[in-house]
Symmetry: C2
Subunit: 474 residues, 2 copies
């Protein structure tokens, strides 16, 4: 049957056989190292995966306290998922063995397929052929793996060094290994992840299957995705529309330029899509398009932690007027406009310090003029957040080298927690990056996202407003 029919016949629950696999066979090298079968098994054990693990390797009897089987057929029980990390030339034979064993889900980590050369293309076609005949679904080949933070199914083939992924609402999927646990410091991502998936060459499962799965996944409420190409434009548009009206769908598309598309074709073996067409599709489907690699991790934070803004009236509090102007410029770019405070807020703030009651609220002058200013800080932040003219707040904090004001900031944010149905985003300046990192961690620990820079903070608010409007229009 043709490709698209085959894909359409695939039902959502099938990706559960990957992400909810009750048992995993790992076929590959069991030598200790930073890559390979050993890493996968150690990862599964360390992250508390509760299912059965079957290492397969004729040269071993035992690894990490587990019995090693010489071949798939030696395993008596049903196998939910097989992960393959062996030389590409031997993969077709192993896929046949999977078919014989009745396996339905296979992850092929091995590279040397369509991304390499003509022989690789032939091999890839061969495994797809075997898989389709036997109803096997494949993620990969040439993938770094997948992970599910809620059941310890950490199937990343590279050592990441940390055991557990922090569980959270963000699914991160990608057509590159650069978003897998070994390539990004996930422990720094306070809001956690639900699923991670590197599609690799997408010989079978790709973005559409994943979107169908994530649409229904109760653990995922925001999706961040990197793509170089689209398997099936029509299906992608259809499923994206369904997803994007329910869950924020953030997509970074590379291969945007002719040059980039050419390079992409040479390393994935697939054709890129015209960027203007893709852009139009994004607008139609309600996809939130990203522009930078780092946005894949940064921008979901607002959706993972903050309420959506109800409108475009932006408030800014800053310790410097300069940041206020920069933020105003950025906001205007996206249709977020600096608000006027309500008269009573204005009056209250002016009572604290003359001129304080306007947006941007510049706390620089009073912070040096007023003795014990930081005792007033909760009052100021609260007043602005409470103001009916404010839909969202960008807060610029300054933290000194000794972190003297950390306590006051943390207490202030603690008091805000859960009290306002509007988003608050924060950016922190100061002379010591470790103190900034500490405050970042404390505030994010309370559920308030701190962004890496001013521009990303505002972009996050703009994306959130965009999603509000997408939801309203559907």
């Amino acid at each position: 049957m043709p490709d698209s029919d085959f894909r359409k016949s695939f039902i959502q629950s099938d990706l559960s056989s990957f992400f909810e696999a009750q048992s995993v066979a790992v076929i590959g090298s069991l030598k200790e190292g930073i890559f390979g079968g050993y890493v996968v098994i150690k990862s599964l054990l360390d992250s508390g995966y509760a299912g059965q693990i079957y290492p397969i390797n004729p040269a071993y009897k035992e690894v990490l306290g587990l019995k090693v089987y010489s071949a798939l057929r030696e395993v008596r029980r049903k196998i939910g998922l097989v992960l393959i990390v062996i030389n590409s030339r031997t993969v077709p034979q192993v896929i046949k063995e999977c078919a014989e064993k009745g396996v339905k889900a296979v992850i092929v980590i091995s590279d040397g397929f369509a991304e390499r050369d003509q022989e690789g293309v032939r091999l890839q076609n061969e495994i797809v052929h075997i898989a389709r005949q036997s109803g096997i679904r494949i993620i990969g080949p040439n993938t770094a793996g997948i992970a599910n933070a809620s059941n310890g199914l950490n199937l990343c083939a590279y050592e990441s060094g940390y055991h557990k992924l922090r569980e959270g609402p963000v699914a991160i999927c990608s057509q590159t290994g650069m978003t897998n646990p070994q390539a990004f410091p996930y422990p720094d991502l306070q809001f956690g992840v639900s699923k991670i998936c590197d599609f690799g060459n997408k010989c079978d499962i790709g973005e559409c299957d994943m979107l169908e799965y994530l649409k229904e996944d109760p653990k995922t409420s925001v999706i961040s995705m990197h793509l170089e190409n689209i398997q099936d434009g029509r299906r992608f548009l259809e499923i994206s529309k369904q997803v994007a009206s329910r869950k924020p769908l953030l997509i970074l598309k590379s291969g945007r330029t002719q040059e980039g598309a050419r390079v992409s074709a040479s390393h994935t073996g697939s054709l890129a899509i015209n960027d203007q067409i893709f852009d139009a599709a994004c607008k139609q489907a309600g996809i939130l398009r990203l522009e930078k690699f780092g946005d894949l991790f940064e921008l979901p934070k607002i959706f993972a932690s903050q309420p959506l803004p109800k409108g475009n009236r932006l408030a800014i509090i800053s310790y410097t007027g300069g940041a206020g102007v920069l933020a105003t410029d950025e906001g205007a770019k996206y249709g977020l406009f600096v608000t006027k405070l309500a008269p009573e807020t204005d009056e209250m703030l002016d009572g604290i310090f003359p001129g304080l009651g306007k947006i941007p609220v510049d706390i620089g002058p009073p912070s040096v003029a007023i003795k014990d200013f930081y005792a007033l800080y909760p009052k100021i932040l609260n007043a602005v957040m409470s103001d009916g003219n404010v839909d969202s707040l960008f807060n610029v904090l300054w933290v000194d080298v000794k972190g003297k004001m950390i306590k006051s900031y943390v207490e202030t944010y603690e008091q805000l927690k859960g009290h306002f149905q509007k988003p608050l985003v924060t950016w922190i300046g100061g002379p010591d990056s470790s103190i900034i990192a500490e405050l970042t961690q404390r505030l994010e620990g309370l559920g308030f996202p701190v962004f890496c820079d001013l521009e990303t903070s505002i972009k996050a608010l703009a994306m959130a407003l965009r999603f509000t409007n997408i939801k309203r229009s559907t």
Copy 2:
């Protein structure tokens, strides 16, 4: 005399009376705290300033082991520079005392001038009037201060917590205190700074004076500047042209949008310039325009450390094809095109691993397939840097959680040092941010810039190429 005549009559050496001041009087509170005269004096002492320091305050006899004078006139010797951090209402009187004492250079930290209200406008006009009558030049008011890294003249009114600024070739000037030592972690900037200046309200000295000074400053070879408005468009264009053909001149202009310009006017008391006009002026003058606040610190790194590229042929080495595509897209945006390697390089790399000899050089597959791959790493990097078809190199490194490959990377970069007349920029991925920070520090310590993200790495190369072309065309 009219403003512009007065400014034109000002000669370059006058800013030396600020940055090379042989003695400094500090008029303001001497109470310990994070802001004020005490901080300035402590900073001067801690950073090894060798000139005379005269604290002025009638309520003290001694501070930090220095004699305190009750008034300027009590100081018998000539005073090079006066720094004022007192209530704005008393500033005019003190400026008069400066005039009487024959002082020619004054920094007014105090706020509450044109940025505050009408009374502030009046006060500001008054100090300008007194200053002009007596030949005094003013930086400020409402400035966070200035610094010169080569003589310990750290006149920042806020505590930064570190004593010495690392000396380097980058001048950072700004119309906000956000670039001053208390607001940015300068110890992380491996390439160092020459001068820092917050212009504040620019009642007298502004960007043009500073550009004239920096043009001739032998310690400054790259200038990074934030502006909200321009004092004198014609003079700015003229001096920018002169500077920009000799030293890279990077400018971040805020108040770009109508909204931003309005907010800027309200906090600086001055009118913003139409952004399209400014953009045209930048193109005409050869100014490298920045888009993000962080670029003020990141982008100068390439000029501070790397040779200029001779052409637009970009090489990419990456541990993942995905980064190669993203970098290709970014390069194409700016006219940097992925090069073809010379046949001998191609052949040599293919000899190491099939298919390695093409750009992007994807070291992902060989790094796991070849035992002891990292012993080959210097050879690969060297081959690409030596290739006559390569004008610049973007190198994506991956560092594992144990930092196993740090040694190999550092040795490789050590061997490259000083051998190539082409720029090399680096971006690092990995699962542990502290290991990434360590490697960043090591490589930057060797003189190779590591950028915060992929997009900024490529933008840095693009800026460098732009400067090559500006130099060629002048």
